[in-house]
Symmetry: C2
Subunit: 603 residues, 2 copies
């Protein structure tokens, strides 16, 4: 019987060979849109088959163009599961979007982007002074003398001048004319900032005239089918001759889809997007550039590039209108441009005082310091906080347990989207562990106690949830959802790695946690996290909780500022020199500190 893995939840469902995908979703309560009841008319039940072959039928061709068909898009109601499949079901009514954080603390920027549009009313050339068209445009522009034309803009020029009767809008970027259009289109000037994570990718559409955010699109990183974390994707590149090409095509295709989606949602044309910027971990940056990330997976973990990288015609294979695409500078192999972008967004490198900043995803990126000195490191926390490698883990989408409390003598949960629990996401995991530690169901060594080994103070309803799993103790949370002893060990590994990393940075700065002015937590995880629980399990050092603050997606906000201000752009590229990168594996006492942080604090 074929197995269908449904993304984003990761649920594996065994179904009849030839089963209708829409019906499988209905039967297993997988949220999916449908207005017509499954007869192929409404075109709402779109899914993306990311692994496994599904033939293209004429019904599908009505709803999708060749490009999207090639990328696996299908109507679920017209698709049968004949073999094993991996199917991404876009969350209906924005339930994915609402849990992918786009807002965050942002620098105040004076809007002065690299892209500028100028509406020009040119006079006719005369026989007495038959200046070339490009020359007349240059003379009409501020600082136009040294301006070059990009080949495509020059090719368009004669027809555009004819159409616009010499009234044209000229788009200038970095001393080059990118585009010419007939008439006045100077108001339509946009950029897109991407935050490219290992699990999720977010696109933010920005008005380059006003600085306004015009829309957001988000999706799971479709590279996930090649491995959950960056290490497994690097391995894929090392082990497959076309590995780099495959993963590059996957991410550039996804970026193209998101750009099309976020512009179409506003009825805009992709041709008015003049610049793209993508921040992300260094492996993602390499793959967007089409560069083999293999060296990131072997000693001494030296990246191929960390400096700002500009692709004038966009990434190879992307469908982004051949516009400039920027990958801002990264700090190192495992502290990416997202972290550097966050530093600038938060002004960590310029403000007085000393701060600790985390961005916890598959890897934890940790920065500590201030304007005098700033240190960075990354801790291989593993993807536990993204719900990965947790037996019932899932990323933070509909159905994920995201909080846990004790209520009425029992555990009580909320889920994202207020639906039946289908798994545990990172913030839920932290909350559950904190509650179980407080109750004494997990002891300081990390042991999940058997039912009869629990202290008497554990309420009977909680105690009854404990049972023996296949190999270790489990505690049931909901139907088919549980936390296992092995999950707790994963959590311990993750938190010990982060805590040891923080320890070492503070040690190098010669300070202790009490000297910290603030502890800032970035990213989606930070926004959903209960800080008290995080501190209870030891991810956050012992500081007063009023010093702890979730700052949102500062990486994306930094990328937006990069689009809007050439000053910020230079700051992001230069701030890197200010930051000392520490590789934890070269720290002689890392192992000791890691071991010391394995236990939890006593209740």
């Amino acid at each position: 019987m074929p197995i269908v893995i449904f993304e984003p939840s990761g649920r594996r469902i065994e179904c009849e060979a030839g089963a209708n995908l829409l019906e499988v979703c209905w039967e297993h309560h997988i949220p999916i849109e449908s207005l017509c009841g499954g007869n192929g008319a409404c075109g709402r039940c779109t899914v993306q088959v990311t692994d496994g072959h599904v033939p293209v039928t004429d019904e599908q061709r009505i709803h999708f163009d060749e490009n999207r068909l090639a990328r696996g898009w299908r109507l679920a109601c017209q698709t049968r599961a004949d073999h094993n499949l991996r199917v991404n079901v876009p969350a209906p009514a924005g339930s994915l979007k609402s849990h992918i954080i786009t807002n965050g603390e942002a620098p105040k920027v004076h809007v002065a982007p690299a892209v500028r549009k100028h509406f020009l009313k040119l006079n006719d050339a005369t026989l007495r002074e038959p200046l070339s068209d490009s020359e007349r445009i240059k003379r009409a522009l501020p600082d136009g003398a040294g301006l070059r034309f990009r080949p495509a803009a020059l090719r368009k020029l004669p027809e555009t001048l004819r159409q616009g009767r010499r009234h044209v809008t000229v788009t200038v970027w970095d001393g080059a004319v990118l585009d010419v259009e007939a008439g006045d289109t100077s108001k339509n000037c946009y950029g897109i900032a991407f935050d490219v994570g290992t699990s999720t990718v977010v696109a933010l559409l920005v008005d380059l005239n006003t600085g306004d955010e015009l829309g957001v699109a988000a999706a799971l990183n479709t590279q996930r089918k090649y491995g959950e974390d960056v290490i497994s994707r690097i391995s894929f590149c090392r082990e497959h001759a076309d590995g780099v090409e495959t993963l590059s095509a996957e991410i550039t295709g996804l970026l193209s889809d998101l750009a099309a989606q976020v512009t179409a949602a506003r009825g805009m044309d992709l041709r008015h997007v003049y610049e793209y910027v993508a921040v992300g971990n260094t492996t993602m940056a390499h793959l967007i550039a089409g560069v083999d990330p293999s060296p990131l997976g072997e000693l001494p973990y030296a990246p191929v590039f960390t400096a700002c990288h500009t692709m004038l015609d966009g990434p190879k294979g992307a469908q982004l209108g051949h516009r400039p695409f920027e990958l801002p500078a990264a700090i190192g192999a495992y502290v990416g441009s997202d972290a550097l972008s966050a530093v600038v967004a938060l002004g960590l490198h310029t403000k007085p005082g000393t701060r600790l900043f985390y961005d916890i995803g598959t890897n934890a990126e940790i920065l500590a310091g201030g304007r005098k000195r700033m240190l960075a490191t990354s801790a291989a926390a593993g993807p536990a906080f993204e719900g990965v490698k947790i037996e019932c883990g899932m990323i933070g989408v509909a159905g994920a347990i995201d909080t846990c409390t004790v209520h009425d003598g029992d555990l009580a949960f909320t889920t994202i989207g207020d639906v039946e629990p289908v798994g545990i996401c990172g913030s839920g995991l932290v909350d559950i562990a904190a509650v179980l530690l407080d109750l004494g169901v997990i002891d300081p060594s990390g042991r999940l106690l058997a039912r009869d080994a629990c202290p008497d103070t554990v309420p009977p309803k909680v105690r009854e949830r404990l049972h023996d799993g296949k190999t270790t103790t489990r505690i049931a949370l909901a139907e088919d959802v549980y936390l296992s002893q092995r999950d707790v060990r994963e959590l311990q590994n993750a938190k010990a790695a982060i805590a040891a990393g923080v320890d070492i940075l503070l040690h190098h700065l010669g300070i202790s946690p009490k000297d910290l002015d603030e502890v800032l937590i970035g990213g989606a995880f930070g926004s959903m996290l209960n800080p008290r629980s995080a501190q209870r399990i030891g991810v956050i050092p012992a500081v007063p909780l009023d010093k702890v603050r979730a700052v949102g997606n500062t990486a994306l906000q930094g990328a937006k500022a990069y689009l809007l201000s050439t000053d910020v752009r230079h700051e992001i590229c230069n701030a890197r020199d200010h930051i000392e990168l520490h590789e934890l594996s070269t720290e002689p006492d890392f192992t000791d500190r890691f071991a010391a942080h394995m236990p939890f604090a006593a209740g």
Copy 2:
């Protein structure tokens, strides 16, 4: 019966349907190589079918790749003439090459090109300082700090470092890394300069380390099938929706072929050619850039661009390894970058004294002046001097009458390649006209006298050559080769336009011919021309003949200097501002002067 037009001679041959092309060549004495006698084995009888369809057979596939097949290359011995065809038969043993001039007066340049190769022995990155590969390269290079990587070079970097065990050669161009290669390839650093004429295209391979010329390839401009002169090609663009695309593909394909040819002849790899520069008339520059030249064909004749234009990835559709391709600045619509390049090559704009410089092709480009002031114009001389629109005219290749004298009471001729005369090229035309003027066979009004109207001084053998043609008098030169009254009128038009142009420039400078220090004639025509004959027919003003000098292909030499020296590059771009462009049609007395120059000087 199908008609086959053979290039470069332009001979039209009617042949049996299905005739074997190699046999047709043999039968009609068209020079073609063949070693195997026509059984498809030797692959030497290559021809290019530039017009008309010839199917691709398996025999052809053995000798040509898909690209060349698509561009019409075939073995003549395996090709049948089923329909009308236009076939270019490359001249054997360089007979075309030897009559396309590549050498010429050249500026002395200090070799300091934009392209530089650096062999680097990089150390391994360390865990203590895991600098990125690109960062280590930048630190090892002079002025490497601000260096960017072109996307393709960055993509190659990891594998190249691995292959070369960190010993790599880095190619830098204009602040960007163009390429990285394993090992030391720093000696292999080449550029190609093109001179793109309406009729002929020349490629010069240059060693960018030493400045040496390594090879030359030349071909007829395959755009000729769309029109002999630029005006007809501009019309083709105006009249056909895909006209620009067609002519662009034609010229970029030809440039790609010539680049492949000139490098292959030296056993070199095209990937070691790092920069291309093409000078030519402004229409050719537009078409190389893929820009519609239509505005050049309508009032006020304003070009789309005249400034230096760089195509970082080469012209669209060219197969030149996506390397930077430069189109240097032009002076105006009909005074192209070839003229500006010649000005700099000759130092006309910097030397003391006053000079007159011509480059006579389909159009005559005329420059006059010196370092204080320099004027330029173009005279629509028509293509008479390229042998076009002359009834038995042909370009200067094997079989063309190139000189004429009186010997033994009769006209005597030499031909290019010392073969039987098949037509008259430009220099032959000038010589013949001068001799006939001296003899009195042509009178000062330009009338070619009938046999019995000739003065008695005309030798009988010459007189016997005169006869009545279809509509006008003709003088027979060889079997099937003659000069007609109409040809003399074409010549008069051409020389009057040039002489009027010279007049006007000298008038604006306030000087007369006797004030000229030198009269310089550029291009292939200038090199083959008998200056005395040219002066006799009035193309060269009345100056002592020792002031007249053929300077060769100074445009190509200027382009070569552009490759070799960034200083020359700036000079070519800046010299333009020093030159005043005069449009003859706006000169009130142009028509009078033109009329005044129609007659020839009395004998």
